[in-house]
């Protein structure tokens, strides 16, 4: 056999191997979480507040953390959407294509993208100290918002850049108003926006480091923005730290809840983008 044929074979094995390892790791993680967590997962677990001595093996559930996580992610989503859509519209439609300023913004977002979440947590904490805010739902929302904003902006920006440049002209020449034009363009961008949102949510909902100092932890469901809020990643962390084996198993059950939430988000992301993109150009 000639050397290039060997080369071909070797690289094929490496490529298939890499794909297999990725699939294997995913299955192993999901398998472990479900194998350890499912036996402890009960209806009480996802509907009840932690009772007294919950972390020592007594009765209760983690509904406080589930609701807290949902509150925080919705809040941070609203904040980052309010900033993302105008920013992406600005760098794509108002600035010239690949202008200096828009590339600086993209570069800044890429750097923000790479900053570890604990740094966001520390920054959020410092900001809260400066503003005199306690660890609260509000603090968590702001900090998680900062974490997911660059993710959302960059992924939304990527799909917006692919928008056919002729589309606005085609609409205007038919006598469409600017508003009618924006509606069609938004429809074209919808799948991209939906996947950007779901990507950001998936990242934000599972992050422990950002909420550690900023959202605090509580056994109750917060009823106002300045009360502390529990979150699923921290619920897992605290339960896993317990010396009681039963509580440790509940940590895995909590992980199942979080994993299922993220899986649902990922699958709906795929579903929505294929549904919306049916008519994409």
């Amino acid at each position: 056999m000639r050397i290039i044929e060997y080369e071909e074979k070797v690289f094929k094995v490496i490529m298939i191997g890499a794909a297999m390892i990725i699939l294997g790791v995913l299955l192993y993680i999901i398998g472990t979480v479900f194998f350890k967590g499912l036996p402890s997962l009960s209806w009480d677990m996802i509907t009840k507040l932690p009772g007294g001595g919950f972390y020592l093996g007594k009765e209760g559930g983690i509904v406080n953390a589930i609701v807290g996580s949902i509150y925080i992610i919705i809040g941070s989503l609203v904040i980052s959407l309010i900033l993302s859509v105008p920013l992406v519209m600005y760098i794509n439609f108002f600035l010239a294509r690949d202008s200096m300023f828009s590339n600086i913004i993209r570069f800044a977002l890429d750097i923000l993208f790479g900053i570890p979440s604990i740094v966001y947590g520390a920054f959020g904490f410092a900001l809260m100290v400066y503003l005199g805010i306690r660890a609260s739902l509000f603090g968590g929302i702001i900090t998680v918002g900062m974490l997911i904003m660059p993710i959302m902006m960059r992924s939304f920006d990527e799909v917006t850049r692919l928008l056919p440049r002729d589309l606005p002209d085609a609409l205007l020449s038919l006598g469409a108003t600017k508003y009618e034009m924006s509606k069609v363009i938004l429809r074209q961008l919808m799948p991209g926006l939906v996947s950007a949102i779901l990507l950001a949510v998936g990242r934000g909902i599972g992050d422990a480091a950002t909420v550690l100092f900023t959202a605090g932890y509580t056994d109750n469901i917060p009823v106002s923005l300045n009360q502390p809020a529990a979150t699923l990643p921290l619920a897992i962390f605290f339960q896993l730290g317990s010396p009681v084996a039963e509580v440790q198993n509940r940590a895995y059950a909590s992980a199942v809840v979080l994993t299922v939430m993220i899986l649902i988000l990922s699958f709906s992301a795929r579903y929505f983008s294929s549904k919306f993109s049916k008519n994409k150009i």
């Binding site: 056919p164 002729d166 589309l167 002209d169 085609a170 609409l171 205007l172 020449s173 038919l174 006598g175 469409a176 108003t177 009618e180 069609v184 429809r187 074209q188 049916k278 008519n279 994409k280 150009i281």
Partner: protein, 262 residues
């Protein structure tokens, strides 16, 4: 006296008259003192080398420069005896009179049916029956109906490029314009699709005034009734096709026609 006035009006109807038109982009003088009248119900081809201002001229006819702050336009463009750059003229009404066929087909992100129905819908037609009739009529007109009849509710982006361009033409016709503008409308198409579009232009001139920017002299020879030859932002020569090709008056035109530059 009265009859002369009405005759004059008759003559001016459905024509385009451009008077002393100058277009600047930033400090560049793109179109220089353009004076031109375009006869109705015929095909007028605007030819000339790249960058001579053909497309800019075409775009002034449906005010597509409106949103570009760098563009400054002076002079008058009369369409149906109305200066479209007059402050009282509504840009939507002007664009509604003009069906534009762009260089590359750009279907809207919706179904084949909705693509054609989009124009009538945004211009206020709500009745399903009328919209259905309009869509079928224009899809038939461009010869697309038989090719897509079973799948008019599927995405327009799945059509071939040639079919997409005919769809774009149907979409433009559905707003019931009086003029058809083509901006190198066949330059991205294969010869077969080009032929179909050219045949459509010839059919269109029975009802509409067709103005085409074209890059290929051969296309102009095949379909033009009138020619406008531009060079560096100025009109060098214009006139009926036979005269223009057989007996050009200007040296520059002769050189261009003989292919000394392109």
């Amino acid at each position: 006296m009265n009859s002369t006035a009405s005759m004059e009006k008759e003559m001016n109807d459905h024509t385009i008259r451009i008077e002393n038109l100058d277009v600047y982009i930033d400090s560049q003088h793109i179109l220089k003192d353009i004076n031109l009248s375009i006869p109705e119900k015929s095909i007028t081809c605007i030819i000339g080398p790249s960058g001579c201002g053909k497309t800019t001229l075409l775009k002034t006819l449906n005010r597509m420069h409106d949103d570009i702050p760098e563009v400054k336009i002076t002079g008058k463009v009369y369409i149906d005896d109305l200066n479209i750059y007059d402050k009282v003229v509504n840009v939507i009404d002007t664009r509604k009179k003009m069906g534009l066929l762009a260089q590359r087909p750009c279907p809207l992100p919706m179904s084949i049916f909705d693509n054609v129905a989009y124009g009538p819908r945004i211009h206020g037609i709500r009745k399903r029956k009328i919209i259905n009739q309009t869509v079928i009529k224009y899809l038939q007109y461009v010869g697309l109906w038989d090719e897509v009849r079973g799948r008019v509710h599927t995405s327009a982006s799945r059509l071939s490029i040639g079919q997409q361009q005919r769809l774009c033409l149907a979409r433009g016709l559905a707003i019931e314009p009086e003029y058809i503008l083509g901006d190198e409308a066949t330059s991205s198409l294969d010869p077969h699709s080009t032929k179909k579009i050219e045949e459509l232009f010839i059919k269109l001139k029975e009802k509409y005034t067709v103005i085409l920017v074209t890059h290929t002299l051969r296309q102009a020879r095949r379909i033009a009734d009138y020619l406008v030859f531009m060079y560096l932002g100025e009109i060098v020569e214009s006139g009926p096709a036979g005269e223009f090709f057989n007996n050009p008056k200007k040296q520059l035109t002769r050189e261009y026609l003989s292919g000394s530059f392109s």
